[in-house]
């Protein structure tokens, strides 16, 4: 086996498309769980069967979100540039999800504080994740400049 054979074999497991697929699955799961959770939280007096169905759907959504996160961090490498991109996508997804939750809150006339707390925590996590990813990439770029001697 020569290096070219090896690189050809590594192409599929390391492909950007696969990583984006895992990211999409994770975000879809998280978004779905968030929206169903918001609907559930703003709908008082639901029958037990409906509440159970909502709980199941939230669990399924969180399961897919967990799988996406696990696959992204453990099954495929997430390099500095990928992390910054993923950070922006996560922040955009939070903004979109937050807008959906805001619409639901406006239609239903408010949102219970635990739900608001969850939305705020997710926003903080997405922002912190992006800041950390940008700092790490900047540190690596600075090291590359030092090693190459190029500005």
């Amino acid at each position: 086996m020569n290096p070219d054979d090896l690189l050809a074999r590594l192409e599929a497991p390391l492909s950007v498309r696969r990583r984006l697929g895992y990211l999409a699955v994770g975000l879809a799961g998280l978004g779905g769980a968030g929206l169903i959770g918001a609907l559930w939280a703003t709908e008082p007096g639901l029958p037990a069967a409906t509440a159970a169905a909502f709980a199941l759907l939230v669990l399924v959504g969180l399961g897919w979100a967990g799988f996406g996160g696990w696959a992204l961090t453990r099954r495929t490498p997430l390099y500095a540039a990928d992390r910054v991109l993923a950070g922006w996508i996560a922040l955009a997804a939070w903004l979109a999800g937050g807008a959906g939750v805001a619409v639901i809150a406006a239609v239903r006339g408010g949102l219970p504080w635990p739900a608001l707390l969850v939305v705020a925590a997710l926003g903080l996590a997405a922002t912190a994740n992006l800041i950390i990813a940008r700092r790490r990439r900047a540190a690596l770029l600075a090291r590359r400049r030092e090693l190459t001697g190029r500005p």
């Binding site: 020569n2 290096p3 690189l7 390391l14 500095a80 540039a81 690596l140």
Partner: protein
């Protein structure tokens, strides 16, 4: 280009750097895996090793430790497949008081490759790492997770075993 720069470029996500890293380190890893496991299993294991390397690179903090880190991953894959061989107790001898170690041995690399299969796994791996892959003693010790003295003992024992194997096959002294 230095290994550190290559690693930094890989961690940034530069696809071209991945190819350069593979080209720079493919042969030592391939030599090690193939000589430890034989050609039948070497291709799949080498692929798994590199996959683990690229998955782990974002978490590699010290690029200067790339070589021992890379070979530690390769060794883990090899040990997994040679559990029985590694489970055997290792003979104990003092590197300073051990008998003749066969350092007068002059064997070309292809002949050495043919004879390696006759050696126990621990001795075989230090010979490959030290002589065929030209890694320093300290790096060999880090890879095998043993003190440098133990690596020296294994090298001495390996040379004696190799000398015996050469005599048995009738190679001239």
């Amino acid at each position: 280009m230095s290994d550190e720069l290559l690693i930094v470029r890989c961690r940034l996500g530069e696809r071209a750097a991945f190819a350069e890293l593979v080209r720079a380190w493919h042969d030592p890893v391939w030599n090690y895996v193939r000589r430890m496991l034989g050609p039948e299993r070497a291709e799949d294991v080498t692929q798994e090793v590199w996959l683990a390397v690229f998955r782990g690179l974002p978490r590699l903090r010290d690029p200067a430790r790339f070589a021992p880190w890379l070979f530690t991953i390769a060794r883990r894959a090899v040990v997994d497949l040679l559990r029985d061989e590694y489970a055997r107790p290792e003979p104990v001898d003092d590197p300073d008081t051990a008998g003749p170690d066969g350092t007068d041995l002059v064997v070309d690399r292809s002949a050495l490759g043919d004879l390696l299969g006759a050696l126990p796994a621990r001795e075989r791996e230090v010979l490959i790492l030290f002589y065929l892959d030209d890694l320093p003693l300290l790096t060999c010790a880090q890879i095998c997770a043993v003190p440098v003295g133990t690596v020296k003992s294994r090298l001495n024992r390996a040379r004696r075993l190799l000398r015996a194997a050469l005599d048995e096959k009738g190679y001239p002294r």
